[in-house]
Amino acid sequence: MSRRIRLSAFIAAGLVVALAVAFFVSRAASSQPDGLNRVAIDNGLEQASKPSAVDGRAGVLGVTVTFALASGVFVVVRRRNRG
């Protein structure tokens, strides 16, 4: 059986990938409205699409906050369930 990478290394590598996607790959993302916005514009439910407020740096903040908040929630529900 092949050697597994350690869990901490896996989590760290995954976070690096998420941060890199948020910071770098987001520059290549389409700025066109998404499916729901497009349908809304075409059917007069929405005037015009507003460009995404999330740029690379905001994305890094969002990834960090999301990781912290989700981890915090799961630590709490796990502890509460045991306590």
């Binding site: 996607v21 066109q32 439910l45 529900v77």
Partner: protein
């Protein structure tokens, strides 16, 4: 796929909010029961990854893009209960910090993008696993197909919400046909990204994939 404020009337939004709160309440209880130590950071990572992936809008048709919803990806990696909570955290951060999806529409967005994809999509994933061979490739394939179908389910859910409490003047049939047709295309993107991501995790740490626990021969540590 994020519904802004004012698209769906207050009563319908409130109803969806009650459904969302109930679903997430149950999910949090179950998450507390099933979470083991190594799943806490993994679940945090899944939420962070879904947030990052949702930023990447890919073109699907002229003047239209789509992005990952991530509910099936999360459910396959950490199970549907924890997965639904992960996507909900993403939606809360987006609505509170980035005005992506309306605050009054948060319940609608949680129902469509977290609950329906995590539970509905995971049910499709389980059904596909029964008919497919017991292999890592089949897990990735089932994840991708279930993820694609889940996106279409979410677009149908939006159409139902629009039918109940849509604030716009366009007919339900027109909105529904447009929503489903464009989300079939977005679903293909969702399926490809989901299958590739599940494959990558299966290649490095197969023991961490909730939806592939049956492939493990030995007990995980």
């Amino acid at each position: 796929m994020h519904i802004p404020d004012g698209f769906i009337n207050g009563e319908t939004s409130l109803g969806a909010g009650i459904v969302a709160a109930t679903g997430i309440g149950v999910s949090l209880r179950r998450a507390g029961q099933v979470l083991d130590e190594k799943q806490v950071p993994l679940a945090g990572l899944v939420a962070a990854f879904v947030f990052a992936a949702q930023m990447i809008n890919f073109p699907v048709a002229s003047g239209t893009s789509g992005h990952l919803l991530g509910g099936v990806l999360a459910a396959v990696l950490v199970g549907p209960f924890i997965g639904a909570v992960c996507v909900t955290v993403v939606l809360v951060v987006q609505a509170m910090l980035f005005a992506d999806g309306g605050l009054t529409a948060l319940g609608l967005n949680v129902v469509n993008m977290a609950l329906l994809t995590s539970f509905g999509g995971y049910a499709i994933f389980r059904a596909l696993r029964i008919v497919l061979p017991r292999s890592a490739t089949a897990v990735a394939l089932a994840s991708g197909v279930a993820a694609g179908v889940a996106v279409v389910l979410a677009s149908v859910a939006f159409t139902v919400e629009y039918a109940i409490g849509g604030a716009g003047g366009a007919s339900v049939a027109t909105v529904g046909a447009a929503m489903v047709s464009v989300h079939v295309l977005i679903g293909i993107g969702e399926g490809v990204i989901t299958a590739m991501t599940v494959s990558a995790v299966l290649a490095s740490r197969p023991d961490l994939v909730w939806g592939a626990r049956d492939l493990q021969r030995e007990p995980t540590r």
